[in-house]
């Protein structure tokens, strides 16, 4: 069943990205791992693409333990906003660490700096994992402002953005406001996609 879900997610993401600049994915918490796996498998299957993966949900160390293959992916750079505030300090070559998820301007600079190193003709993708966790560490208003800035900057540089929002009752309104800034919204249900 998990494979069906992951393959279904991969297909939907791929289709959405082929015609949209940015996509927002709204998922229930229990589907989160399947979604990240679907995205990570895309890294491997498309080595010609350049990806920047921003994690606020899980430290890179945890992701690398869970999906060992991501250490070998040379077409993806991680920006980890959560390790330092969690007291983790192990360095990795393919990871830029941001001291705190509140340092949004620094994050914005690092995202764009990572893409500066990528050739003009290479397809570029940014993943934000996740809007929900950004809101835990920041006020929703500043996340909205940050997100507007990122969407505008990435659009101007022809970078596709994928934002993950994990459903959370208390911040539903904010998440909806952010998710609707994308060109396409994918809502994943518990039972099936």
């Amino acid at each position: 069943m998990a494979n069906v879900l992951i393959n279904g997610l991969k297909e939907r993401i791929s289709n959405a990205l082929s015609i949209n600049q940015s996509i927002g994915i709204l998922i229930p918490g229990n589907t989160y791992s399947d979604l990240t796996q679907a995205i990570f498998e895309r890294f491997i299957s498309k080595p010609e693409e350049a990806w920047v993966y921003v994690t606020v949900t899980k430290p890179y160390e945890t992701l690398a333990k869970q999906y060992e293959f991501i250490n070998e992916c040379i077409n993806v750079k991680f920006i980890d906003c959560i390790s330092r505030v969690s007291g983790l300090s192990k360095p990795y070559n393919n990871v830029t660490f941001i001291e705190s998820p509140t340092m949004l301007e620094k994050l914005s600079l690092e995202i764009m700096n990572n893409f500066k190193q990528v050739g003009e003709c290479t397809k570029k993708f940014l993943v934000i994992d996740s809007l929900t966790n950004f809101i835990i560490y920041n006020d929703p208003e500043i996340i909205t402002e940050f997100f507007y800035q990122i969407i505008n900057r990435t659009r101007a540089r022809d970078i596709h953005t994928i934002s993950i929002a994990i459903e959370e009752k208390d911040i539903e309104n904010y998440l909806n406001r952010l998710i609707y800034l994308h060109d396409k919204i994918l809502k994943i249900k518990d039972s099936f996609i």
Partner: protein
């Protein structure tokens, strides 16, 4: 020379991309600019990056420090990717410890008299002339003035310094130390009056974390931005600026 070349000639490009955009191209050549900030705000890094970027453009520079020994200064700078030892060795960037100059002049390095300050100014001007520098840094004007004994001496020294700098054809950055979280430009309240420009390095607190900020307060002769930016300092890229998110809790 075309009009564009003439215009470019009159602008001193800092080489810090976002800063040049904010300045409308760069600092008007020959300006004296106060770089204001509290301890650890990034004044020295910004100044050194400006000097190194200038040297890469063929503009010789000199860095006068009075705040820390040169071995410590260079050790700190070596961590930055922009730091280029070859530029120091080739004499395109000159690092000079003013305390050593003072000692050689037989001055008391802790307290200056009017004559001492005047002699030091002459030496400073001679070095700049001899090396034919286009970019000059004094780090810091606060520490220099601290060695003068009365407010009158400080006032007199600062105005003399202003006249000397105006006579030199180089673009000068003077660092000015201020207490943290205070919106003041200088320790003695006079430094800003001899300056053509003021760059203010500060910080804001967000959820307990400090975000570095940068703002151009004034820059004579330039249609500059007045917005507050966030400033980042990294070993990879040195000083970088990006728009500050304005929403506050």
């Amino acid at each position: 020379m075309t009009e564009i070349e003439l215009q470019n000639n009159e602008i001193c490009v800092t080489g810090i991309e976002e800063l040049d955009i904010m300045l409308g191209g760069g600092i008007p050549t020959g300006s004296t600019v106060l770089v204001v900030g509290s301890s650890g705000s990034g004044k020295t890094t910004l100044c050194m990056q400006y000097l190194i970027n200038g040297a890469h453009r063929g503009e010789r520079g000199v860095y006068f420090t009075i705040t820390e020994p040169l071995f410590k200064f260079t050790k700190n700078m070596e961590g930055f990717n922009f730091y280029d030892k070859n530029l120091i060795e080739s004499g395109m960037v000159n690092l000079i410890d003013l305390r050593i100059i003072s000692e050689r002049l037989g001055l008391n390095t802790e307290k200056y008299t009017v004559e001492d300050a005047s002699a030091l100014l002459d030496i400073l001007r001679d070095i700049a002339d001899e090396l034919n520098v286009k970019r000059l840094i004094i780090d810091s004007i606060t520490a220099l003035c601290y060695r003068l004994q009365t407010p009158e001496m400080i006032r007199d020294f600062i105005f003399k310094l202003g006249s000397s700098l105006a006579a030199m054809k180089c673009t000068t950055l003077l660092t000015s130390e201020v207490p943290p979280r205070k919106f003041q430009y200088s320790q003695y309240g006079i430094e800003e009056f001899i300056s053509d420009g003021i760059l203010f390095l500060g910080d804001i607190e967000r959820k307990g974390d400090l975000i570095r900020t940068f703002q151009i307060i004034k820059m004579r002769g330039a249609a500059h931005s007045r917005t507050k930016s966030a400033m980042s300092i990294s070993t990879d890229n040195g000083v970088e600026l990006t728009p500050l998110l304005k929403s506050r809790e």
